[in-house]
Amino acid sequence: MTTPLSHIRNFSIVAHIDHGKSTLADRLIQSTHTVADRDMKNQLLDAMDIERERGITIKANTVRIDYVAQDGEHYVLNLIDTPGHVDFAYEVSRSMRAVEGSLLVVDATQGVEAQTLANVYTAIEADHEIVPVLNKIDLPAAEPERVAEQIEDVIGIDASDACLISAKTGVGIPDVLEAIVKRLPPPHSGDPDAPLKAMLVDSWYDSYLGVVVLIRVMDGVLKKGDNIRMMQTGAKYGVDKLGVFRPAMQDVKELGPGEIGFFTGSIKQVRDTRVGDTITHEKKGATTPLPGFKPSIPVVFCGLFPVDSAEFEDLRDAIEKLALNDASFSFEMETSAALGFGFRCGFLGLLHLEVIRDRIEREYDIDLITTAPSVVYHVYMKDGEMRELHNPADMPDPSKIDHIEEPRIKATILVPDEFLGDVLKLCQDRRGLQLDLTYAGSRAMAVYDLPLNEVVFDFYDRLKSVTKGYASFDYQMEGYREDNLVKMQVLVNDEPVDALSTMVHRDRAETRGRAMCEKLKDLIPRQMFKIPIQAAIGGKVIARETLSALRKDVTAKCYGGDATRKKKLLEKQKAGKKKMRQFGKVDIPQEAFISALKMDG
């Protein structure tokens, strides 16, 4: 028995990071008795280790709730808790496509922040009804009236009947439930008798069930045992298990129009389940697919290599499984003289990169080396061809290059007045061009055109530190622009080390080069001869350090009684050499690369 459309409400909970989405989800789950009190814990939906450790949501999560409203009717609510961090904006926009409305949570002590704005725009684009929810009113610093005004001024949506709540204490939750039923629309249309059309919202790998597929049914009814077809990929499967999340998996016999749930079906091929695809019945299926999603485009690339080269195949397996879990993560094989075999991976941002790396290390127990992150450059050749450069090591011969363009972003920064000067300076230093500067109360909103390359390194950290954490930041890709960009190589003993090549702006090359050479000088152990460490641009050395030769490594005393023990020590020394990477005659311990590539520098 499927639920009538009029009694279904599908919505996402969106907000700036940490404004309380997951906590609100907790209260909605709890007050509707979806989960027994004894099984309840804070941010119940943030189930991954990294989510719990960092206290943030990374993956969107769906829960089905049964709610008997004040009108006495029984409603089915499907909520999607979304992540707040800018890197996961794609996850939010995708989730929004599966639902009809959004709860816009705003922390009443913080007000409108950069992702609040970004989320509202995405929600409007998805044709959502929006219910503003002012959270954390239990805190003395909460200013719900002022924040409501700000929502109206800055965002331009009516906040006069915003819900005032404390997701922590539970105040106002009944109002939120009523607002969901009364103010958010039911699914727009949906014909149970039409051919099946279900949207593939997400998929992930579960070690017990294999691939799990999250769907939203638009038309038709999907039943356990049905044979289905993915319209884009053409893959066909039988539905083994059909269910909903409460938030634990609960089997159902069928899913009808407007409903959200999952199925499994012994899916082996990772690439068969593409988010945004349309699922239909194998026989008498739909003929036109749903519009699908805008594909996500990875903007930051880096190499991931196993520290122990024997773990390469394990790494491949881990990456394939994670890619399934995360549609916005891309990868291809890469080899490096310094680091051996690995993968060049694309991410939506640095946090995304960190999360994936963390998950590989923990969930699959593989130690990784991460190379310096790089953005995608457009290299225009003299013959008119344009090449996408994902890895500085692949830079073509400079004499054949006409010019290079780099990706630019439009960054929106909201910051209290007192820190504005520092923020403007930071943007300036990062080659930013100011597009707009406006004020909303005591907060400034600065809009900058910035090179993505300057942002991926440590912009976010710098921004946090110069504003003591009071600034918020959001960005979107703006396209490409030409600039004076060069590939900086690092040479150790006159041999280029590919893993350390980076693209830099010509004006900053010397500074970067000097810093890298100094760092390497400290990291590479002294050898039997002196070693020049250089940074160079197309054969021209721009920075240089010399690692002096090791002078002394000799045992003062060695007689007949010492032979056995001393020989063991030398054997150890010899064996240690095997763990080194050889560059010409120089042995560099892998740790040196790992440290040189640490992103903190």
Binding site: D553, T555, Y559, G560, G561, A563, E571
Partner: protein
């Protein structure tokens, strides 16, 4: 074909594991014990000499070395009984070298004449420093005056006298060492062992350094400068460096220690002693029990050894390289490769020649002065890997 050990000769090492006090830098098998029953020890050592001789019948013995510990604490009778046993076991070379390690104190100096009468013809005196403050820091029981007096007696009694010095000490500058070494050279002995202070695990110095103490030890550059200065001064005074830390007038090299470095065979007896013995054409490593009483009882029961191990081709080549490259004369390429063909990989040889760390001539290779300071690296490169 002659057995490999013949290229290095055959010697006997006798370990005396007792000292009057434990020095804070020392990791030798030495113990401070009251009332050692020397009669019983003499019998056990002599018996061990006999046991080892059974497996090396008919060999010519080129040297005997009493090491420690402090073998100058052995009563002359004890020394004599061990020498008697050795005399009965092997044919002695005409010019056999019999060395006794001695601490330069008056007690011991008083026995030198009797030691000489027992057959000792060379002493090696642990002078360690010619500065009273440094001798104190090194935990030594003697002062400079006493050491000089002991040296005088030794030179009177023995035809050959060597002395040990430890340098690269705390707060020692180049000029400090230059003056001290000059004074040492001026003594006109025929052999000098000059060791840079080494922190060995398990010693009091090691623990102190781990805890952040023992400051003022030289950094690598100063240590290298000190070493180079030592080579220059010794050369200028006619004491050629024939090994990393050993300098001698021509012909005054320690013949016994050359057995180790030229990778000959040696019998090792006494607590903790190691030996290398070729039996039935195969080289073996022997090791005796370290704890004195444990050894004594084992020796009395038939054998003081706790281990007898056949050395592999890799072991032998590795040991030959490690020992032989300590010598200025270097090693024989064909001998090393004959022991194990994975020794001296051609590519590494070329690299090291390129770096100027080794020389190659007349079928031999050896370290250059710069290479000698980097000996551990050189050997690690050249020994057979696994």
């Amino acid at each position: 074909m002659a057995e490999d050990w013949r290229a290095g000769g055959f010697g006997l090492y006798v370990h005396w594991p007792f000292c009057e006090a434990k020095c804070p830098y020392c990791d030798f098998n030495s113990h401070v014990v009251q009332g050692v029953d020397q009669d019983r020890w003499a019998a056990a050592l002599a018996r061990e000499v006999g046991r080892v001789a059974e497996t090396t019948k008919g060999r010519v013995l080129g040297s005997i070395f009493f090491g420690g510990g402090t073998p100058s604490l052995m009563l002359p009778e004890t020394v004599a009984r061990v020498l008697d046993a050795a005399r009965q076991s092997w044919i002695w070379a005409n010019d056999i070298e019999i060395t006794l390690e001695a601490n330069p104190r008056s007690v011991e100096a008083g026995r030198f004449r009797a030691h000489a009468a027992a057959g000792v013809n060379r002493v090696s005196l642990g002078v360690q420093a010619l500065r009273d403050a440094d001798l104190k820091r090194l935990g030594r029981l003697h002062d400079v005056r006493e050491a000089r007096a002991a040296l005088d007696v030794a030179r009177d009694v023995f035809s050959r006298v060597s002395a040990d010095l430890i340098y690269a000490r705390q707060d020692q500058s180049l000029t400090d060492w230059e003056a001290e070494l000059q004074a040492f050279l001026d003594l006109g002995l025929d052999h000098l062992s000059l060791y840079q202070l080494t922190l060995e695990p398990g010693t009091a110095f090691w623990d102190r350094a781990q805890a952040g103490g023992l400051r003022g030890l030289p950094e690598e550059d100063l240590a290298a400068d000190l070493f180079e200065l030592t080579q220059e001064m010794c050369d200028a005074a006619g004491y050629r460096a024939y090994e990393v830390s050993n300098h001698a007038r021509d012909g005054a090299e320690s013949r016994h220690n050359l057995v180790y470095w030229r990778y000959g065979d040696w019998a090792g007896i006494g607590p903790g002693a190691h030996g290398r013995l070729t039996q039935d054409g195969l080289r073996h490593a022997t090791e005796a029990w370290s704890m004195p009483m444990r050894w004594l009882e084992a020796a009395e029961a038939g054998s003081g050894d706790r281990r007898l191990e056949r050395l592999t081709a890799r072991d032998m080549a590795g040991e030959y390289l490690m020992m032989g490259l300590r010598l200025t004369e270097g090693i024989e390429v064909a001998r090393a490769r004959g022991l194990c063909d994975a020794a001296l990989p051609e590519r590494d040889l070329e690299d090291l020649l390129d770096f100027g760390l080794i020389w190659q001539a007349d079928g031999r290779i050896g370290t250059t002065p710069r290479g000698r300071l980097m000996l551990n690296r050189v050997v690690a490169r050249l020994m057979p890997g696994d």
